[in-house]
């Protein structure tokens, strides 16, 4: 599935939850199931400091695809992280660079990604794109 198709799928999954509270409850559920983070990668370098919640992001290249592993100290943030990984993990750099992330907005949780929320998520998305750019450059050389 393409990045767009997975996002459509997620939007579809959330569409039956009309109440905002239910959407957050679903995020909490997803966040609780986030694959565990390997402690050796919980480094200062991988830390994205938000004003309120911390995010750790580790990325590596597996053949021609980028792999991501991430964690947060806040569960709701972990929920979004989980969705971001479902969308962007195991992608080629160009796919990530050319993608448009619309799912957060479409499922009605745009406040989570607004620049003023400073929960580390905006920086995380930016960082994921930076990794894509860096790996792309690396692969071309």
């Amino acid at each position: 599935m393409t990045i767009k198709e997975i996002q459509d799928e997620i939007v579809d999954e959330f569409s039956m939850l009309t109440e905002k509270e239910d959407k957050y409850l679903s995020l909490i559920e997803i966040g609780n199931k986030l694959e565990s983070f390997e402690e050796e990668h919980r480094t200062e370098q991988n830390l994205i400091e938000g004003c309120q919640a911390k995010v750790w992001l580790h990325a590596w290249l597996d053949d021609d695809k980028i792999r991501f592993m991430a964690d947060s100290d806040a569960i709701i943030v972990k929920g979004i992280i989980s969705l971001l990984i479902r969308i962007l993990d195991k992608r080629k750099p160009n796919e990530i660079l050319e993608s448009e992330l619309f799912f957060v907005d479409k499922i009605g949780l745009k406040e989570l990604l607004s620049p003023t929320r400073s929960n580390g998520l905006v920086s995380m998305v930016k960082q994921m794109r930076m990794y894509a750019l860096a790996f792309k450059t690396k692969m071309e050389n």
Binding site: E21, I28, Q52, A53, K54, D73
Partner: protein
Amino acid sequence: MINYPIEAIRRDFPILSRPVNGRPLVYFDNGATTQTPNQVVKAMEKVYLEINSNIHRGVHTLSNLCTEAFENARKKAAKYVGAASEKEVIFTRGTTEAINLVAHSFGETFLGKDDEIIISAMEHHSNIVPWQLLQKRAGIILRIIPVNDDGSLDMEEFHNLLNPKTKLVAVTHLSNVLGTINPVEKIIEAAHNINVPVLIDGAQAIQHLPVDVQKLDCDFYAFSGHKLYGPTGIGILYGKEKWLNEMVPWQGGGEMIQSVSFEKTTFNELPYKFEAGTPDYVAAIGLGAAMDYVGAIGFDTICEHETELFQYAFDRLSSIEGMQFYGTAEKRTSLISFLIKGIHPFDAGTLLDKMGIAVRTGHHCAQPLMDRFNIPGTIRASFGLYNTKQEVDALVDGLIKVKQLFG
């Protein structure tokens, strides 16, 4: 409490009856900003619709009317804090600008290399960073009063820090994180004993504690309008005339001058010397109206209501298992900071918001204090004159739900 006109008061604040996320709003973020009553909005509307004109410089009727309203607001502010004269009341953009003004003007006039300024470990960034900037400009040294485990100031250490090199003490009246009421009278007395002036950050105190600057004998007192049910963008620096007269101005421009030539510029008298450019006179008039509003209910009555509410909230919140409170000093009021065991404040705050409950989470612009307690942040419920016990109950129910969901 008998006779507290809570329903009438709540009607004055239309925002309180709006729903948030489909629930009735419970507004417990008064430490960040208080809501604005109709009376204040109307007073400002009246300026724009009936008398708007730039103040001081005009000879025409509207300018005179507007100037009169603006200066009348200054008189109200002077009376509100018990200043000896209106000359001691300077309009600023808020507490932050008031403290920056002192850091600049007092700093440039009186401070030099190795002079010491004492602040405390519980200060808001607004009462830390201006002094750090001064540290860079003038080479002053910052000394920090430590905070005890219960959130009170270590007064013994404060007395140890006071020394002949101390040139200023700048502390908060009421902690925005812990709710601690600091013994500012004792701090001022001790500092004055060795002729050291004291600045009080009154951002959190002005709406919850009776403030009389002459009785306190403080040298500077700073606060914001928007935390006193007034508009944003306006605040007050009270300063004793003897200091303000000697201090050099920090911003130049219109109104603060007496005469300007390219050879020599002379400055206007107090308070205008420190009010360069067109001030936010509409907001100043709004602040005057807010002071009238508080005065009409009666400050003592408000305090009584808030004290009762605070006690009720603390008792009820204490009944929830796993609560860790930050700030348990004997003398405190207006806000409660806490964490629930195992739950990140961001998660708790986000879910409470979905239930219509507005609390603040995070470091509350007091990172050194978070470091002191070794926590990333807290959840803070801060109260205002319009809050009710029913709202406290809603918060408690909300927190119990949060616990169930994350527990």
